[in-house]
Amino acid sequence: SQKIEQNSEALNIQEGKTATLTCNYTNYSPAYLQWYRQDPGRGPVFLLLIRENEKEKRKERLKVTFDTTLKQSLFHITASQPADSATYLCALDLFSGNTPLVFGKGTRLSVIA
């Protein structure tokens, strides 16, 4: 069966450290993978998109990797701050006709001062 999993439901990290979140999938062949941030009571907000032929993408303190052999994406936040505390969602874009994005359940990140 097709699955997308974000390995941790919750992750606690000390301020200043690098947070690493994992997104694994099975039986999908995504063309793109996206990461979103969701704050409590708000809709998700897009952060980064990485294509299947890209190994790594960076934006300020954020870095995403995409390994289509391992079927895994890693999302890193360097020099983490309490303001980075939120739920982070990964989403697969199958780019197959009009198929909607497939969202993971999210990882709740807490950055402790």
């Binding site: 809709g43 907000v45 998109l49």
Partner: protein, 111 residues
């Protein structure tokens, strides 16, 4: 651009009542989506549309209906509300294979 707007922000319904959740986007996006999110859970796709006049069921369509008569608007209709429909509802839109934009959500309680 206002982006994706949703009304109302909050609503309390009695069991058996009906209502329409409104969603509009001003970005000329072809794809639009409705999700529900229960407390502490992930997003579940209810219905989606790939363009005006075209709609399709998602993962949890039972108890809901949609229409897409224009590119901008994608209302979600709840008929005969049930307590199981208590949730936060998010509308979203996107242009082809790019990032998805979400609305602020409607918090619905059915008692």
């Amino acid at each position: 651009n206002a982006g994706v707007t949703q009304t109302p922000k909050f609503r309390i319904l009695k069991i058996g009542q009906s209502m329409t959740l409104q969603c509009a986007q001003d970005m000329n996006h072809n794809y639009m989506y409705w999700y529900r999110q229960d407390p502490g859970m992930g997003l579940k796709l209810i219905y989606y549309s790939v363009g005006a006049g075209i709609t399709d069921k998602g993962e949890v369509p039972n108890g809901y209906n949609v229409s897409r008569s224009t590119t901008e608007d994608f209302p979600l209709r709840l008929e005969l509300a049930a307590p199981s429909q208590t949730s936060v509802y998010f509308c979203a839109s996107r242009l082809d294979s790019y990032e998805q934009y979400f609305g602020p959500g409607t918090r619905l309680t059915v008692t």
